[in-house]
Protein backbone atom coordinates (compact mmCIF):
# COMPACT_ATOMS: atom_id res chain seq x y z
CA UNK A 1 0.00 0.00 0.00
CA UNK A 2 2.65 2.42 1.06
CA UNK A 3 4.59 2.45 -2.13
CA UNK A 4 1.40 2.37 -4.02
CA UNK A 5 0.34 5.55 -2.36
CA UNK A 6 3.71 7.16 -2.63
CA UNK A 7 3.64 6.47 -6.30
CA UNK A 8 0.32 8.11 -6.89
CA UNK A 9 0.39 10.93 -4.43
CA UNK A 10 2.47 14.04 -4.70
CA UNK A 11 2.68 14.17 -0.96
CA UNK A 12 5.61 12.64 0.82
CA UNK A 13 6.80 12.49 4.40
CA UNK A 14 8.61 15.75 3.93
CA UNK A 15 5.41 17.69 3.56
CA UNK A 16 3.81 16.24 6.64
CA UNK A 17 4.59 18.99 9.10
CA UNK A 18 3.78 21.83 6.79
CA UNK A 19 0.50 20.30 5.75
CA UNK A 20 -0.67 19.44 9.21
CA UNK A 21 0.04 22.98 10.24
CA UNK A 22 -1.97 24.27 7.36
CA UNK A 23 -4.79 21.97 8.30
CA UNK A 24 -4.59 23.09 11.90
CA UNK A 25 -5.30 26.64 10.84
CA UNK A 26 -8.38 25.61 9.01
CA UNK A 27 -9.58 23.40 11.82
CA UNK A 28 -13.14 23.74 12.92
CA UNK A 29 -13.73 24.85 16.46
CA UNK A 30 -14.58 22.17 18.93
CA UNK A 31 -18.12 21.81 20.18
CA UNK A 32 -17.14 23.19 23.57
CA UNK A 33 -16.10 26.37 21.83
CA UNK A 34 -19.34 26.50 19.91
CA UNK A 35 -21.34 26.14 23.08
CA UNK A 36 -19.30 28.81 24.76
CA UNK A 37 -19.82 31.25 21.93
CA UNK A 38 -23.50 30.45 22.07
CA UNK A 39 -23.51 31.43 25.73
CA UNK A 40 -21.67 34.60 24.96
CA UNK A 41 -24.28 35.51 22.41
CA UNK A 42 -27.19 34.90 24.72
CA UNK A 43 -27.13 37.22 27.71
CA UNK A 44 -29.86 35.54 29.79
CA UNK A 45 -28.16 32.21 29.28
CA UNK A 46 -24.93 33.71 30.52
CA UNK A 47 -26.73 35.01 33.57
CA UNK A 48 -28.24 31.59 34.17
CA UNK A 49 -24.86 29.95 33.83
CA UNK A 50 -23.26 32.39 36.21
CA UNK A 51 -26.09 31.90 38.71
CA UNK A 52 -25.82 28.16 38.64
CA UNK A 53 -22.04 27.94 38.73
CA UNK A 54 -21.64 30.67 41.31
CA UNK A 55 -24.38 29.26 43.46
CA UNK A 56 -23.02 25.74 43.43
CA UNK A 57 -19.53 26.97 44.19
CA UNK A 58 -20.78 29.22 46.95
CA UNK A 59 -22.81 26.49 48.54
CA UNK A 60 -20.02 23.95 48.36
CA UNK A 61 -17.47 26.29 49.86
CA UNK A 62 -19.71 28.01 52.39
CA UNK A 63 -20.97 24.73 53.75
CA UNK A 64 -17.41 23.80 54.63
CA UNK A 65 -17.45 26.59 57.17
CA UNK A 66 -20.70 25.53 58.73
CA UNK A 67 -20.65 23.03 61.54
CA UNK A 68 -23.71 21.04 60.62
CA UNK A 69 -24.36 19.25 63.94
CA UNK A 70 -24.02 22.56 65.69
CA UNK A 71 -26.27 24.28 63.21
CA UNK A 72 -28.87 21.61 63.70
CA UNK A 73 -28.86 22.00 67.44
CA UNK A 74 -32.16 23.19 68.70
CA UNK A 75 -32.36 26.42 70.44
CA UNK A 76 -35.87 26.59 71.59
CA UNK A 77 -35.54 30.20 72.56
CA UNK A 78 -35.32 31.13 68.92
CA UNK A 79 -38.43 29.25 67.94
CA UNK A 80 -39.53 30.56 64.56
CA UNK A 81 -37.58 33.76 64.89
CA UNK A 82 -38.48 36.19 62.17
CA UNK A 83 -35.90 37.16 59.55
CA UNK A 84 -33.52 39.87 60.57
CA UNK A 85 -33.92 39.41 64.30
CA UNK A 86 -31.43 37.87 66.67
CA UNK A 87 -28.89 37.78 63.91
CA UNK A 88 -30.91 35.35 61.82
CA UNK A 89 -30.73 36.74 58.32
CA UNK A 90 -33.52 34.57 57.06
CA UNK A 91 -35.06 33.76 60.39
CA UNK A 92 -35.16 30.48 62.22
CA UNK A 93 -37.37 27.44 62.11
CA UNK A 94 -39.30 25.64 64.80
CA UNK A 95 -36.14 24.38 66.37
CA UNK A 96 -34.60 27.82 66.38
CA UNK A 97 -32.16 26.80 63.67
CA UNK A 98 -30.90 29.34 61.22
CA UNK A 99 -32.74 29.10 57.92
CA UNK A 100 -29.92 30.79 56.07
CA UNK A 101 -27.39 28.23 57.20
CA UNK A 102 -29.75 25.37 56.58
CA UNK A 103 -30.34 26.74 53.15
CA UNK A 104 -26.65 26.56 52.39
CA UNK A 105 -26.11 23.10 53.78
CA UNK A 106 -29.49 21.98 52.48
CA UNK A 107 -28.69 23.18 48.99
CA UNK A 108 -25.44 21.34 49.13
CA UNK A 109 -27.20 18.17 50.17
CA UNK A 110 -29.97 18.54 47.63
CA UNK A 111 -27.64 19.46 44.83
CA UNK A 112 -25.40 16.63 45.90
CA UNK A 113 -28.26 14.21 45.76
CA UNK A 114 -29.38 15.60 42.42
CA UNK A 115 -25.87 15.38 40.99
CA UNK A 116 -25.38 11.91 42.36
CA UNK A 117 -28.73 10.80 41.10
CA UNK A 118 -28.13 12.37 37.72
CA UNK A 119 -24.72 10.82 37.35
CA UNK A 120 -25.77 7.36 38.43
CA UNK A 121 -29.08 7.19 36.66
CA UNK A 122 -27.89 8.89 33.48
CA UNK A 123 -24.75 6.81 33.16
CA UNK A 124 -26.66 3.65 33.67
CA UNK A 125 -29.56 4.74 31.51
CA UNK A 126 -27.32 5.88 28.69
CA UNK A 127 -25.34 2.65 28.63
CA UNK A 128 -28.46 0.57 28.81
CA UNK A 129 -30.14 2.57 26.06
CA UNK A 130 -27.09 2.48 23.81
CA UNK A 131 -26.61 -1.23 24.14
CA UNK A 132 -30.27 -2.02 23.78
CA UNK A 133 -30.66 0.26 20.80
CA UNK A 134 -27.58 -0.95 19.03
CA UNK A 135 -28.00 -4.66 19.29
CA UNK A 136 -31.14 -6.21 18.10
CA UNK A 137 -32.39 -9.68 18.72
CA UNK A 138 -32.52 -11.29 22.11
CA UNK A 139 -30.35 -8.77 23.89
CA UNK A 140 -32.62 -5.92 22.91
CA UNK A 141 -35.71 -7.98 23.54
CA UNK A 142 -34.62 -8.82 27.05
CA UNK A 143 -33.56 -5.29 27.80
CA UNK A 144 -36.85 -3.97 26.56
CA UNK A 145 -38.75 -6.25 28.88
CA UNK A 146 -36.85 -4.61 31.70
CA UNK A 147 -38.07 -1.26 30.42
CA UNK A 148 -41.61 -2.49 30.34
CA UNK A 149 -41.26 -3.68 33.86
CA UNK A 150 -39.75 -0.41 35.06
CA UNK A 151 -42.46 1.50 33.27
CA UNK A 152 -45.05 -0.43 35.18
CA UNK A 153 -43.58 0.25 38.59
CA UNK A 154 -45.34 3.00 40.49
CA UNK A 155 -42.17 4.88 41.28
CA UNK A 156 -43.09 6.98 44.26
CA UNK A 157 -44.82 4.09 45.91
CA UNK A 158 -41.86 1.79 45.44
CA UNK A 159 -39.51 4.40 46.80
CA UNK A 160 -41.73 4.87 49.83
CA UNK A 161 -41.82 1.15 50.46
CA UNK A 162 -38.05 0.87 50.09
CA UNK A 163 -37.41 3.84 52.31
CA UNK A 164 -39.55 2.30 55.03
CA UNK A 165 -37.71 -0.98 54.76
CA UNK A 166 -34.29 0.52 55.02
CA UNK A 167 -34.32 1.93 58.47
CA UNK A 168 -31.00 3.66 58.49
CA UNK A 169 -30.88 5.46 55.22
CA UNK A 170 -28.95 8.62 54.59
CA UNK A 171 -28.41 10.89 51.64
CA UNK A 172 -26.31 8.29 49.86
CA UNK A 173 -28.76 5.44 50.26
CA UNK A 174 -31.58 7.73 49.29
CA UNK A 175 -29.72 8.68 46.12
CA UNK A 176 -29.20 5.04 45.32
CA UNK A 177 -32.83 4.23 45.89
CA UNK A 178 -33.90 7.04 43.59
CA UNK A 179 -31.41 5.88 41.00
CA UNK A 180 -33.05 2.50 40.79
CA UNK A 181 -36.11 4.16 39.38
CA UNK A 182 -34.97 7.23 37.56
CA UNK A 183 -32.81 5.83 34.79
CA UNK A 184 -35.62 4.54 32.69
CA UNK A 185 -36.82 7.74 31.02
CA UNK A 186 -33.35 8.77 29.90
CA UNK A 187 -32.63 5.31 28.74
CA UNK A 188 -35.69 5.04 26.56
CA UNK A 189 -34.86 8.33 24.91
CA UNK A 190 -31.31 7.22 24.26
CA UNK A 191 -32.47 3.90 22.95
CA UNK A 192 -34.78 5.35 20.38
CA UNK A 193 -32.10 7.72 19.15
CA UNK A 194 -29.54 4.94 19.09
CA UNK A 195 -31.92 2.83 17.12
CA UNK A 196 -32.23 5.41 14.37
CA UNK A 197 -28.57 6.29 14.63
CA UNK A 198 -27.42 2.71 14.17
CA UNK A 199 -29.34 2.49 10.95
CA UNK A 200 -27.22 5.23 9.47
CA UNK A 201 -24.54 4.33 7.05
CA UNK A 202 -21.66 5.59 9.11
CA UNK A 203 -22.27 2.71 11.48
CA UNK A 204 -22.19 0.31 8.58
CA UNK A 205 -19.05 2.05 7.40
CA UNK A 206 -17.46 1.59 10.79
CA UNK A 207 -18.37 -2.06 10.73
CA UNK A 208 -16.81 -2.54 7.34
CA UNK A 209 -13.76 -0.71 8.60
CA UNK A 210 -13.42 -3.46 11.15
CA UNK A 211 -14.36 -1.43 14.20
CA UNK A 212 -15.60 -3.46 17.16
CA UNK A 213 -19.14 -3.17 18.42
CA UNK A 214 -18.04 -1.69 21.69
CA UNK A 215 -16.09 1.01 19.92
CA UNK A 216 -18.93 1.70 17.55
CA UNK A 217 -21.33 2.20 20.40
CA UNK A 218 -19.20 4.47 22.50
CA UNK A 219 -16.96 6.15 19.98
CA UNK A 220 -19.20 6.46 16.94
CA UNK A 221 -22.79 6.56 18.09
CA UNK A 222 -22.42 8.17 21.46
CA UNK A 223 -20.76 11.36 20.22
CA UNK A 224 -23.62 11.72 17.79
CA UNK A 225 -26.23 11.69 20.45
CA UNK A 226 -24.09 13.70 22.81
CA UNK A 227 -26.24 16.77 22.42
CA UNK A 228 -29.27 14.75 23.37
CA UNK A 229 -27.35 13.36 26.29
CA UNK A 230 -26.23 16.77 27.45
CA UNK A 231 -29.68 18.26 27.15
CA UNK A 232 -31.35 15.36 28.82
CA UNK A 233 -28.82 15.34 31.59
CA UNK A 234 -29.22 19.03 32.35
CA UNK A 235 -32.96 18.76 32.30
CA UNK A 236 -33.02 15.69 34.46
CA UNK A 237 -30.63 17.41 36.81
CA UNK A 238 -33.18 20.19 37.19
CA UNK A 239 -35.90 17.62 37.66
CA UNK A 240 -33.91 15.55 40.12
CA UNK A 241 -33.58 18.48 42.46
CA UNK A 242 -37.32 18.23 42.83
CA UNK A 243 -37.45 14.49 43.40
CA UNK A 244 -36.23 14.50 46.95
CA UNK A 245 -38.42 17.43 47.98
CA UNK A 246 -41.64 15.65 47.14
CA UNK A 247 -40.73 12.63 49.20
CA UNK A 248 -39.63 14.77 52.07
CA UNK A 249 -43.00 16.39 51.91
CA UNK A 250 -44.76 13.07 52.20
CA UNK A 251 -42.47 12.29 55.09
CA UNK A 252 -40.30 9.73 53.38
CA UNK A 253 -37.35 11.85 52.40
CA UNK A 254 -34.33 12.87 54.36
CA UNK A 255 -34.61 12.96 58.15
CA UNK A 256 -35.25 16.35 59.66
CA UNK A 257 -31.78 16.81 61.05
CA UNK A 258 -30.25 16.40 57.61
CA UNK A 259 -31.25 19.66 56.05
CA UNK A 260 -32.11 19.72 52.39
CA UNK A 261 -34.21 21.94 50.20
CA UNK A 262 -36.81 19.22 50.52
CA UNK A 263 -36.97 19.20 54.27
CA UNK A 264 -37.07 22.97 54.23
CA UNK A 265 -39.92 23.12 51.76
CA UNK A 266 -41.64 20.41 53.72
CA UNK A 267 -42.12 23.07 56.35
CA UNK A 268 -44.93 24.20 54.08
CA UNK A 269 -46.57 20.99 55.13
CA UNK A 270 -47.97 22.89 58.02
CA UNK A 271 -50.38 25.52 56.76
CA UNK A 272 -49.48 27.69 59.71
CA UNK A 273 -45.99 27.93 58.38
CA UNK A 274 -47.22 28.98 54.97
CA UNK A 275 -48.45 32.31 56.21
CA UNK A 276 -47.10 32.92 59.63
CA UNK A 277 -43.63 31.54 59.26
CA UNK A 278 -43.20 31.87 55.55
CA UNK A 279 -39.47 32.23 55.89
CA UNK A 280 -39.18 28.61 56.89
CA UNK A 281 -40.07 27.33 53.44
CA UNK A 282 -40.33 30.14 50.92
CA UNK A 283 -36.61 30.79 50.41
CA UNK A 284 -36.04 27.14 49.67
CA UNK A 285 -38.95 27.06 47.25
CA UNK A 286 -37.71 30.17 45.46
CA UNK A 287 -34.24 28.77 45.35
CA UNK A 288 -35.44 25.61 43.69
CA UNK A 289 -37.42 27.55 41.16
CA UNK A 290 -34.53 29.82 40.27
CA UNK A 291 -32.10 26.95 40.14
CA UNK A 292 -34.32 24.77 38.01
CA UNK A 293 -35.16 27.62 35.69
CA UNK A 294 -31.53 28.49 35.21
CA UNK A 295 -30.52 24.92 34.61
CA UNK A 296 -33.27 24.23 32.14
CA UNK A 297 -32.44 27.49 30.38
CA UNK A 298 -28.86 26.34 30.10
CA UNK A 299 -30.18 23.07 28.73
CA UNK A 300 -32.03 25.01 26.05
CA UNK A 301 -28.91 26.84 25.01
CA UNK A 302 -26.91 23.67 24.81
CA UNK A 303 -29.63 22.09 22.75
CA UNK A 304 -29.63 25.07 20.45
CA UNK A 305 -25.90 25.07 19.97
CA UNK A 306 -26.07 21.41 19.07
CA UNK A 307 -28.50 22.30 16.32
CA UNK A 308 -26.51 24.33 13.85
CA UNK A 309 -29.58 25.89 12.26
CA UNK A 310 -30.69 27.57 15.47
CA UNK A 311 -27.42 28.95 16.61
CA UNK A 312 -27.35 32.59 17.56
CA UNK A 313 -23.70 32.86 18.34
CA UNK A 314 -21.14 33.83 15.75
CA UNK A 315 -20.02 31.03 13.50
CA UNK A 316 -16.52 30.92 14.83
Amino acid sequence: MEENLNRHSRISAADLERLSKEAQQEATPSSAKIIWSEFKADKPAMVALVIVVAFILFVMIASLFIDTPKMMETNIMNYNTAPGTNGFILGADTGGRSIAQQLIVGSRNSIGIAIGLTIISSTFGICWGLVSGYFNGYIDWGMQRVYDFMMMLPMTMMIIVLVTIIRNYNAVTLTLIFSIFYWEGTSRLIRSRTLSESEKDYVAAAKTSGTSNFKIIFKEIMPNISSLIIVDTTLSFAENIGVETGLSYLGFGLPIHTPSLGTLIANANDPNNITQYWWTWLPAALLIIILCLSISYIGQVVRRSADASQRQGAEA
Binding site: R145, D148, F149, M151, M152, L153, P154, M155, T156, M157, M158, I160, V161, L162, T164, I165, R167, A238, G242, T245, G246, Y249, L250, I265, A268, N269, P271, I274, T275, A285, I288, I289, L291, C292, L293, S296, Y297
Partner: protein, 319 residues
Protein backbone atom coordinates in the same frame (compact mmCIF):
# COMPACT_ATOMS: atom_id res chain seq x y z
CA UNK B 1 -56.07 -5.73 16.35
CA UNK B 2 -57.83 -7.63 19.11
CA UNK B 3 -55.25 -10.34 18.82
CA UNK B 4 -52.48 -7.85 19.26
CA UNK B 5 -54.12 -6.36 22.31
CA UNK B 6 -54.68 -9.78 23.76
CA UNK B 7 -51.10 -10.70 23.09
CA UNK B 8 -49.93 -7.55 24.78
CA UNK B 9 -52.04 -8.44 27.76
CA UNK B 10 -50.60 -11.93 27.86
CA UNK B 11 -47.10 -10.51 27.80
CA UNK B 12 -48.08 -8.34 30.74
CA UNK B 13 -48.91 -11.31 32.91
CA UNK B 14 -45.35 -12.36 33.82
CA UNK B 15 -44.55 -8.74 34.58
CA UNK B 16 -47.47 -8.52 36.92
CA UNK B 17 -46.44 -11.75 38.61
CA UNK B 18 -42.91 -10.52 39.14
CA UNK B 19 -44.22 -7.26 40.49
CA UNK B 20 -46.56 -9.06 42.84
CA UNK B 21 -43.78 -11.19 44.31
CA UNK B 22 -41.51 -8.19 44.58
CA UNK B 23 -44.12 -6.10 46.28
CA UNK B 24 -45.19 -8.90 48.51
CA UNK B 25 -41.64 -9.43 49.72
CA UNK B 26 -40.96 -5.75 50.10
CA UNK B 27 -44.12 -5.24 52.09
CA UNK B 28 -43.16 -8.08 54.39
CA UNK B 29 -39.68 -6.67 54.76
CA UNK B 30 -41.00 -3.47 56.24
CA UNK B 31 -40.35 -3.29 59.96
CA UNK B 32 -43.33 -3.90 62.15
CA UNK B 33 -46.56 -5.69 61.49
CA UNK B 34 -50.19 -4.68 61.13
CA UNK B 35 -50.65 -4.75 64.87
CA UNK B 36 -47.56 -2.87 66.01
CA UNK B 37 -49.41 0.36 65.71
CA UNK B 38 -52.33 -0.65 67.86
CA UNK B 39 -50.35 -0.48 70.99
CA UNK B 40 -52.45 0.73 73.82
CA UNK B 41 -52.93 -0.56 77.31
CA UNK B 42 -56.34 -1.90 76.52
CA UNK B 43 -55.28 -4.40 73.95
CA UNK B 44 -53.73 -7.55 75.25
CA UNK B 45 -50.54 -8.69 73.47
CA UNK B 46 -51.78 -12.26 73.77
CA UNK B 47 -54.81 -11.38 71.74
CA UNK B 48 -52.61 -9.72 69.16
CA UNK B 49 -50.50 -12.85 68.85
CA UNK B 50 -53.72 -14.72 68.47
CA UNK B 51 -54.76 -12.40 65.66
CA UNK B 52 -51.37 -12.63 63.99
CA UNK B 53 -51.62 -16.38 63.99
CA UNK B 54 -55.19 -16.25 62.80
CA UNK B 55 -54.09 -14.15 59.86
CA UNK B 56 -51.22 -16.45 59.02
CA UNK B 57 -48.67 -13.73 59.60
CA UNK B 58 -46.25 -16.20 61.15
CA UNK B 59 -46.21 -18.46 58.10
CA UNK B 60 -43.17 -18.50 55.81
CA UNK B 61 -43.39 -15.92 53.08
CA UNK B 62 -43.92 -18.30 50.17
CA UNK B 63 -46.84 -19.84 51.97
CA UNK B 64 -48.33 -16.43 52.62
CA UNK B 65 -47.71 -15.49 49.04
CA UNK B 66 -49.27 -18.66 47.80
CA UNK B 67 -52.36 -18.17 49.97
CA UNK B 68 -52.59 -14.67 48.72
CA UNK B 69 -52.38 -15.77 45.10
CA UNK B 70 -54.99 -18.46 45.64
CA UNK B 71 -57.30 -15.90 47.13
CA UNK B 72 -56.50 -13.53 44.34
CA UNK B 73 -57.87 -16.00 41.86
CA UNK B 74 -61.08 -15.94 43.76
CA UNK B 75 -61.19 -12.21 43.37
CA UNK B 76 -60.21 -11.82 46.97
CA UNK B 77 -57.31 -9.60 47.85
CA UNK B 78 -57.61 -10.40 51.51
CA UNK B 79 -58.81 -8.30 54.38
CA UNK B 80 -57.41 -5.03 55.47
CA UNK B 81 -56.10 -5.36 58.99
CA UNK B 82 -56.71 -1.76 59.75
CA UNK B 83 -60.10 -1.34 58.18
CA UNK B 84 -61.28 -4.86 58.85
CA UNK B 85 -63.02 -5.18 55.56
CA UNK B 86 -62.15 -6.85 52.29
CA UNK B 87 -59.42 -5.03 50.45
CA UNK B 88 -61.39 -5.18 47.25
CA UNK B 89 -64.24 -3.27 48.78
CA UNK B 90 -62.00 -0.85 50.58
CA UNK B 91 -59.98 -0.04 47.49
CA UNK B 92 -63.07 -0.11 45.36
CA UNK B 93 -64.60 2.74 47.27
CA UNK B 94 -61.35 4.72 47.19
CA UNK B 95 -60.64 3.94 43.58
CA UNK B 96 -63.85 5.61 42.54
CA UNK B 97 -62.65 8.82 44.13
CA UNK B 98 -59.19 8.63 42.65
CA UNK B 99 -60.48 7.84 39.21
CA UNK B 100 -63.01 10.65 39.35
CA UNK B 101 -60.31 13.07 40.25
CA UNK B 102 -57.92 11.67 37.67
CA UNK B 103 -60.51 11.83 34.95
CA UNK B 104 -61.49 15.35 35.84
CA UNK B 105 -57.86 16.44 36.05
CA UNK B 106 -57.17 14.91 32.67
CA UNK B 107 -60.11 16.65 31.08
CA UNK B 108 -59.13 19.96 32.60
CA UNK B 109 -55.50 19.44 31.64
CA UNK B 110 -56.47 19.09 28.04
CA UNK B 111 -58.91 21.97 28.25
CA UNK B 112 -56.05 24.17 29.38
CA UNK B 113 -53.29 22.65 27.39
CA UNK B 114 -54.79 22.29 23.94
CA UNK B 115 -55.64 25.92 23.33
CA UNK B 116 -52.42 27.03 24.96
CA UNK B 117 -50.22 24.69 22.99
CA UNK B 118 -51.87 25.51 19.71
CA UNK B 119 -51.92 29.20 20.38
CA UNK B 120 -48.26 29.18 21.29
CA UNK B 121 -47.32 27.19 18.21
CA UNK B 122 -49.46 29.28 15.92
CA UNK B 123 -47.76 32.41 17.12
CA UNK B 124 -44.38 30.79 17.41
CA UNK B 125 -41.68 33.16 18.54
CA UNK B 126 -44.10 35.99 19.23
CA UNK B 127 -45.19 37.43 22.53
CA UNK B 128 -48.02 35.02 23.40
CA UNK B 129 -45.69 32.14 22.69
CA UNK B 130 -43.06 33.56 24.98
CA UNK B 131 -45.59 34.11 27.76
CA UNK B 132 -46.87 30.58 27.53
CA UNK B 133 -43.36 29.20 27.46
CA UNK B 134 -42.36 31.17 30.52
CA UNK B 135 -45.46 29.80 32.21
CA UNK B 136 -44.51 26.27 31.36
CA UNK B 137 -40.94 26.71 32.49
CA UNK B 138 -41.91 28.15 35.83
CA UNK B 139 -44.64 25.64 36.55
CA UNK B 140 -42.32 22.87 35.54
CA UNK B 141 -39.83 23.89 38.18
CA UNK B 142 -42.18 24.28 41.14
CA UNK B 143 -42.63 21.06 43.03
CA UNK B 144 -46.17 19.84 42.66
CA UNK B 145 -47.00 19.79 46.33
CA UNK B 146 -45.99 23.42 46.71
CA UNK B 147 -48.59 24.32 44.11
CA UNK B 148 -51.11 22.26 46.00
CA UNK B 149 -50.33 23.63 49.42
CA UNK B 150 -50.41 27.21 48.25
CA UNK B 151 -53.54 26.59 46.24
CA UNK B 152 -55.37 25.13 49.19
CA UNK B 153 -54.30 27.89 51.40
CA UNK B 154 -55.40 30.68 49.10
CA UNK B 155 -58.55 29.26 47.54
CA UNK B 156 -59.61 26.94 50.28
CA UNK B 157 -58.96 28.84 53.43
CA UNK B 158 -58.29 32.49 52.74
CA UNK B 159 -60.92 32.93 50.09
CA UNK B 160 -63.01 29.99 51.18
CA UNK B 161 -64.17 29.23 47.66
CA UNK B 162 -63.57 25.52 47.76
CA UNK B 163 -63.88 22.72 50.28
CA UNK B 164 -60.55 21.64 51.63
CA UNK B 165 -61.12 18.09 52.76
CA UNK B 166 -63.03 15.05 51.78
CA UNK B 167 -64.77 13.98 48.63
CA UNK B 168 -68.33 14.92 49.41
CA UNK B 169 -70.23 17.12 51.79
CA UNK B 170 -71.75 15.24 54.71
CA UNK B 171 -75.05 17.04 54.29
CA UNK B 172 -75.54 16.44 50.59
CA UNK B 173 -78.76 14.62 49.82
CA UNK B 174 -78.71 11.79 47.35
CA UNK B 175 -79.17 12.73 43.72
CA UNK B 176 -78.13 15.93 42.12
CA UNK B 177 -76.79 17.37 45.36
CA UNK B 178 -74.46 14.46 45.80
CA UNK B 179 -73.12 14.77 42.31
CA UNK B 180 -72.78 18.50 42.71
CA UNK B 181 -70.99 18.12 45.99
CA UNK B 182 -68.62 15.53 44.61
CA UNK B 183 -67.84 17.78 41.72
CA UNK B 184 -67.33 20.74 44.01
CA UNK B 185 -64.82 18.74 46.00
CA UNK B 186 -62.67 17.76 43.05
CA UNK B 187 -62.78 21.20 41.49
CA UNK B 188 -59.81 22.71 43.25
CA UNK B 189 -57.53 19.67 43.27
CA UNK B 190 -58.49 19.11 39.65
CA UNK B 191 -57.62 22.64 38.63
CA UNK B 192 -54.33 22.59 40.49
CA UNK B 193 -53.44 19.21 39.08
CA UNK B 194 -54.33 20.40 35.63
CA UNK B 195 -52.22 23.53 35.97
CA UNK B 196 -49.32 21.28 36.68
CA UNK B 197 -50.11 18.58 34.16
CA UNK B 198 -50.65 21.14 31.43
CA UNK B 199 -46.95 21.82 31.16
CA UNK B 200 -46.00 18.58 29.52
CA UNK B 201 -48.89 18.57 27.13
CA UNK B 202 -48.33 22.16 26.11
CA UNK B 203 -44.67 21.59 25.39
CA UNK B 204 -45.35 18.42 23.49
CA UNK B 205 -48.23 19.84 21.52
CA UNK B 206 -46.36 22.99 20.70
CA UNK B 207 -43.48 21.15 19.13
CA UNK B 208 -45.85 18.80 17.33
CA UNK B 209 -47.75 21.69 15.81
CA UNK B 210 -44.58 23.48 14.83
CA UNK B 211 -43.31 20.33 13.16
CA UNK B 212 -46.61 19.86 11.37
CA UNK B 213 -46.58 23.47 10.27
CA UNK B 214 -43.31 22.91 8.47
CA UNK B 215 -44.29 19.62 6.99
CA UNK B 216 -44.58 18.95 3.29
CA UNK B 217 -48.22 17.98 3.40
CA UNK B 218 -49.11 21.37 4.78
CA UNK B 219 -47.29 22.90 1.85
CA UNK B 220 -49.35 20.64 -0.40
CA UNK B 221 -52.51 21.81 1.30
CA UNK B 222 -51.52 25.41 0.81
CA UNK B 223 -50.90 24.80 -2.82
CA UNK B 224 -54.39 23.37 -3.03
CA UNK B 225 -55.71 26.76 -2.05
CA UNK B 226 -56.92 25.71 1.37
CA UNK B 227 -57.36 28.80 3.56
CA UNK B 228 -54.99 28.94 6.44
CA UNK B 229 -57.60 28.47 9.16
CA UNK B 230 -58.76 25.29 7.46
CA UNK B 231 -55.19 24.12 7.14
CA UNK B 232 -54.84 24.51 10.87
CA UNK B 233 -58.09 22.79 11.50
CA UNK B 234 -57.93 19.90 9.06
CA UNK B 235 -54.25 19.23 8.81
CA UNK B 236 -52.07 20.74 11.49
CA UNK B 237 -54.25 20.38 14.57
CA UNK B 238 -55.66 17.09 13.56
CA UNK B 239 -52.29 15.58 12.87
CA UNK B 240 -50.70 16.91 16.01
CA UNK B 241 -53.63 16.09 18.25
CA UNK B 242 -53.46 12.42 17.53
CA UNK B 243 -50.16 11.80 19.27
CA UNK B 244 -51.45 13.99 22.07
CA UNK B 245 -54.47 11.77 22.45
CA UNK B 246 -52.14 8.88 22.91
CA UNK B 247 -50.24 10.89 25.48
CA UNK B 248 -53.31 10.62 27.69
CA UNK B 249 -52.60 6.97 28.37
CA UNK B 250 -49.01 7.60 29.33
CA UNK B 251 -50.05 10.44 31.56
CA UNK B 252 -51.88 8.00 33.80
CA UNK B 253 -48.56 7.27 35.46
CA UNK B 254 -48.12 10.91 36.27
CA UNK B 255 -51.65 11.27 37.53
CA UNK B 256 -51.35 8.28 39.81
CA UNK B 257 -48.07 9.57 41.13
CA UNK B 258 -49.66 12.93 41.71
CA UNK B 259 -52.57 11.35 43.54
CA UNK B 260 -50.27 10.60 46.47
CA UNK B 261 -49.71 14.31 46.88
CA UNK B 262 -53.11 15.68 45.95
CA UNK B 263 -54.96 13.32 48.21
CA UNK B 264 -52.63 13.96 51.10
CA UNK B 265 -53.00 17.71 50.81
CA UNK B 266 -56.76 17.60 50.35
CA UNK B 267 -57.38 14.71 52.75
CA UNK B 268 -59.18 13.30 49.79
CA UNK B 269 -59.98 9.67 50.50
CA UNK B 270 -58.60 8.06 47.41
CA UNK B 271 -56.11 5.33 46.75
CA UNK B 272 -53.09 7.60 47.20
CA UNK B 273 -54.05 8.64 50.69
CA UNK B 274 -54.99 5.08 51.48
CA UNK B 275 -51.52 4.03 50.46
CA UNK B 276 -49.79 6.59 52.62
CA UNK B 277 -51.94 5.59 55.58
CA UNK B 278 -51.50 1.90 54.97
CA UNK B 279 -47.74 2.33 54.96
CA UNK B 280 -47.80 3.61 58.51
CA UNK B 281 -50.36 1.00 59.56
CA UNK B 282 -48.34 -1.75 57.85
CA UNK B 283 -51.54 -2.86 56.29
CA UNK B 284 -49.76 -5.35 54.01
CA UNK B 285 -52.76 -6.53 52.13
CA UNK B 286 -53.67 -2.99 51.19
CA UNK B 287 -50.12 -1.98 50.32
CA UNK B 288 -49.54 -4.94 48.05
CA UNK B 289 -52.91 -4.55 46.44
CA UNK B 290 -52.41 -0.85 45.81
CA UNK B 291 -48.94 -1.16 44.35
CA UNK B 292 -50.19 -3.93 42.16
CA UNK B 293 -53.19 -1.94 41.05
CA UNK B 294 -51.09 1.11 40.32
CA UNK B 295 -48.71 -1.08 38.38
CA UNK B 296 -51.50 -2.58 36.36
CA UNK B 297 -53.02 0.82 35.75
CA UNK B 298 -49.66 2.01 34.49
CA UNK B 299 -49.53 -0.95 32.18
CA UNK B 300 -53.03 -0.37 30.98
CA UNK B 301 -52.16 3.27 30.43
CA UNK B 302 -49.37 2.41 28.05
CA UNK B 303 -51.53 -0.19 26.41
CA UNK B 304 -54.29 2.34 26.04
CA UNK B 305 -51.89 4.80 24.47
CA UNK B 306 -50.67 2.22 22.04
CA UNK B 307 -54.20 1.29 21.16
CA UNK B 308 -55.24 4.89 20.66
CA UNK B 309 -52.19 5.46 18.52
CA UNK B 310 -52.83 2.42 16.43
CA UNK B 311 -56.43 3.42 15.95
CA UNK B 312 -55.81 6.99 14.99
CA UNK B 313 -52.62 6.55 13.04
CA UNK B 314 -53.19 4.50 9.92
CA UNK B 315 -49.46 4.02 9.52
CA UNK B 316 -49.26 1.74 12.52
CA UNK B 317 -52.76 0.43 12.34
CA UNK B 318 -52.76 -3.25 13.00
CA UNK B 319 -54.85 -5.32 10.69
Amino acid sequence: MWKTILRRILIMIPEVIILSILVFLLAKAMPGDPFTGSINPRSDPAQIHHLMKLNGLYDPWYQQYWNWVVHLFHGNLGNSYQYQEPVTRLIGSRAVNTLWLALFTTILTYCFALPMGMFAAKHEGKLPDSIIRVYTYVTYCIPFFVILVIGVWIFGYVLGWFPTTGSISSTANPGIQTIGSRFYHILLPGILGALFGTVNVVQYLRSEVIDAKRSDYVRTARSKGVPSKDIYRHHIFRNSLLPIAAFAGYSITGLLNGSLFTETVFSYPGMGLLFINSISYRDYTVITALVLIYGILNLLGTLLSDIILSIVDPRIRIQ
